[in-house]
Symmetry: C3
Subunit: 451 residues, 3 copies
């Protein structure tokens, strides 16, 4: 049997070497073995280096290094020094540095760069460091499929990329070794793309909160001398949440409209947007989700109104006569709010990775843009109905009611969007987005496909 | 080093050719290179065709075509004509057509078929067109892993399927080149499987809405001359939503029961169901999710009742004496509704791709069927409790109250399901579903495994 | 063309054999063909064995077995007997047993073991049985990517693992053939990791329910002779849900704290935890999600209070004078509850497979631990505010109000957590978790990397 076996798969039995027999080293070896490689471990004490995956053998670092053309370094940076002694054996080999640090900027230079400095004769490639031992053990899953790599030798990177692909990962080249620092920071970063949206949210919340406190609590205290500070916990919170939510929702759709106007102005889609716009567009999803969170709080806070002690006590101040218009208004006001929230929720659900993955590009853009603008409209209309007729009345200390502040941005957004939807404008924008350029000089094979 | 490298992976260094250096062409080349292929680009201006992925080279179309046995066409259909001049070089090659169109039915015949007509001597295979440049760049993710392909040459398709597999995709053969049109429509379609459920939803909503408007608003206006049109926005909406939701929920479970009866009648599971039933069963998930949406709206609309101006104004009409039975009834009514909604939500969550993927088949069917029917029961019971004693009373213009309409289908469904659960019936149905046939003639090795 | 094609991929054209032409056999063959294998089917009637995937051929079992070194058995266990006659041809081959049973413990010994007994000369490997024909047809998706395998021959397992990897799956070695029984039970198990949390939930619910029934209903009936049994459906349910939810939430975070103390005491993270703690920690996610479910019910049950007949009838008992403190308290009470629930929801969302996959390890632990403890704090504080001043009053039959029971565990949890957060304690714990040991004897290369 052995021979049938051998010659059937012999050509791919490449030998790889791993330095370090820790969690990661062992998991990596396991996966390599399962993917049809032969694996040899380099260890200080080849005969007592703990349990190794079945099929792998352990040798001295020297022997191991010599035997393979590709060496994985699964060891701490603090222990790199001993590699210097192996310089001759590692001459011309591919060294894959998978190490990480405990903190950012622990060292001035990236581990991989320090390694390259130690062994100038080797081709150092930074790779696999974003994967956990766990991810290796269980094979690639949807999220940790990407293997980022960088290095100075093109052929070396190529070799590592092939190994990654064979292991079932998707290799992504991040350029020269100078990108190593960035790769080493990946596992340490904490929601980078959420930072900006959260700052905006906190800033807005703080501002609106102070605004309503002054307008509703301080004003009442100073002018009428009554203390309704207790309204802070629910009544005022429930003014802050919807306002922040609506503003952030429009912040999430504004950049798209701006981009449209820029493309119209430039007459092409192939020139990059200004950086601030790029960055803004990249965090639209996060802006939207934060806004959804605030909308959710607004809904629940609204629903508990009737069970509040304060409300139960004072009851509702009834007017003498039932007014159908008011009934219409209050009911439409609630309906708009609920429908808007429902759509908003739908947007949130479709931005779940697994759901958005399952959508075709056309479907995704339909939901996120068409339904998105419908949501904006519902929520804005909801707020207008709330304002109703007390729009230009009820100023206190020359401060307009807070909800009026929240109406500025969405109103602007809707107007701009309507401009873009004018048949003539829409037509030329569509053509631009389909690759057409006002002054078209390229030959076809260079026009990107619509995919 | 070079030579170790070479001979270790030499056998797999297959050379592939790509026509077109646009977004898609470049991304595809990148991924191919990372997967261990050599890549050559065919271009009109090999020396000025913009940035190419590192490691790939560019040649004239002729030279490129000659060098490889497999050619990817990443160019617009409008530019196919120049290929005719390459017919000799493309003779006997595999041409992979990855092109898409901007609209459906832009051309009478599929791009791939037109291509085959232009170069009869080549083996045209339609493939990769459902993938975006983005998906190629970042490697396969859970959703866009499938690569659909079709073509007339079995060997050619085989070759393309192998490339796809090596790139980490899963190849799915869709038959001969005549399927190309269908594949080219994939990226353009908009929620095909949602269409039917949405039509049903809209139709039902419209009908029920008109029904309740006539019964509650028009009737009151004509008979008592009072205008309660304002009730449309919330009161009536909140009658329509639960009714549509309940009907669609039962529509989601009905086909399963019907299928059961058909299998019982036929005594086998190996004969296909009638088309209408197949199509119905294929959109059960969508039916359920739409129903969930309506249930959600119903819940929120119910919860805002006490803060409505109308309700606050008229308050509640109290009877003179507190009736424990009524208290029991109203509370159970609410409980049933909430528990039903809770279960419904659970069903919705488990039908999220990533969640249902994580379930074993047995677990998924347990939730979707067992818990599903429990949900149906709760919701139906909830509605019966709502009706309570005013069942055969309160007709207006001979129209029964709307909620009674919603009770027909679920009641039928529950009865049918109970029939299927009768021990004797259940036993034989189970045996049929385990592959047993009333007249069993096959030998074991042809009976499908229960996996 | 043929020859270019051939020599380009010839080296990988390994031939594999499949016994059984059922659903699974056919799907498996298809996938193998697409991944670049040649496939031959073994069948009783090679010429009338129904449709086979294009490119595969069918032979007699004997011929098929002889032709390949690796044979997949896609047939029912009941039909294994005929294999005995093939013993000579199967001598020294790898037999991959993919069979499953309809029930657990249908047979005393695992299918694979029985197979090994029948053909002692072959290398039996249990594998692929956890995959459905459907999963094979459509290629690996995120959830069913793992292929578990076990067997006695290391080389044989290696060969199967390679096939699995080439098919795009991730092979996981489960050891010797004695593990086959376990693998064969996988597709049959029903939420094993949910069992314990659900038992706990049911047990707690039952206990608390009885407790409140005695305290609120029975007591009132015996002492004041009034029947408020109707309160069971909502009022009492809404006492049980939050209590169970809070207790289970703290049960979800308690093991982490305990583990911390154990590590501190041992001064290392490399020694295994006691089994009970391991098992407890493994079902933390489930504990949390069940708790979330109960919290959701609690929220909705609370929101319907004002529309209950009972409440509407008796209205609210107003005190003579409006008390700001009470207003503050009740509002903060609601706010805490809502914010706690909001955070809780966030925890639930991030534990969706696709979401948690998209998070870096650091991000995941930030949310699940930092935000998790914040949730615990909010919910506990919410309950304390509910108790407010009627803490050591209102005993009935010496039974404290139910909510007090729910406060014990979370309070203990919070205290313990605060202890762990003391700078000195925290520092040494962090060092331990970074691989440091109180008595460090290992050399660096054996210290696991922080990945």
């Amino acid at each position: 049997w052995a021979n049938t076996k051998t010659d059937s798969t012999a050509p791919e039995q490449e030998l790889l070497c791993i330095f370090g027999t820790g969690d990661l080293g062992r998991s990596l070896g396991q996966r390599l073995l399962h993917s049809g490689y032969r694996v040899v471990y380099g260890s200080r004490r080849p005969h007592s280096c703990g349990p190794l995956p079945q099929g792998a053998q352990a040798m001295s670092h020297e022997a191991a290094a010599q035997s393979a053309s590709l060496v994985f370094l699964c060891i701490h940076r603090e222990h790199y020094d001993f590699l210097e002694t192996l310089a001759p054996q590692l001459q011309g080999k591919v060294l894959v540095d998978v190490s990480n640090n405990l903190k950012k900027n622990l060292y001035p230079e990236a581990n991989a760069e320090c390694l390259q400095r130690l062994i100038p004769g080797a081709y150092v490639v930074k790779a696999f460091n974003t994967l956990s031992a766990w991810a290796l053990q269980n094979g690639p899953s949807d999220a940790n499929r990407q293997v980022y790599l960088c290095g100075n030798g093109a052929e070396a990177k190529q070799a590592v990329a092939e190994v990654a692909t064979k292991l079932g990962f998707a290799a992504l080249d991040r350029g020269s070794l100078s990108a190593a620092k960035e790769l080493e920071d990946f596992p340490l970063q904490l929601f980078p793309e959420w930072r900006m949206p959260l700052y905006v949210a906190v800033g807005l919340t703080a501002f609106i909160f102070v605004y309503v406190v002054i307008r509703d609590v301080v004003y009442a205290y100073v002018e009428q001398g009554e203390d309704n500070s207790f309204r802070i916990m629910v009544s005022l919170a429930n003014k802050v949440f919807p306002i922040v939510s609506l503003i952030m929702l429009s912040l999430c759709y504004l950049p798209g409209v701006i981009a449209g106007f820029i493309q119209l102005y430039r007459g092409t889609k192939y020139r990059r947007f200004p950086d601030w716009l790029d960055r803004w567009m990249l965090c639209r999803k996060q802006l939207g989700l934060v806004a959804l969170g605030f909308a959710f709080l607004h809904m629940v806070y609204t629903l508990i109104i009737p069970i509040r002690y304060y409300v139960i006590f004072w009851g509702s101040n009834r007017t003498s006569v039932f007014d159908t218009t008011t009934a219409w208004r209050s009911d439409s006001y609630y309906s708009m709010g609920i429908l808007g929230f429902g759509l908003f929720l739908l947007l949130g659900i479709t931005s779940l990775p697994s759901v958005s993955n399952a959508l075709s590009w056309r479907e995704f853009s339909f939901i996120q843009s068409k339904l998105g603008y419908l949501t904006v409209f519902f929520c804005t209309f909801h707020t207008y109905l709330y304002g109703w007729d007390k729009f230009l009345r009820t100023y206190k200390w020359y401060m307009p009611p807070a909800y009026m502040l929240s109406l500025v941005l969405p109103s602007v957004l809707i107007v701009l969007k309507l401009l873009l939807l004018l048949p003539c404008v829409d037509r030329s924008l569509t053509r631009i987005r389909q690759g057409w350029e006002r002054t078209d000089t390229q030959d076809g094979s260079e026009k990107p496909l619509l995919t």
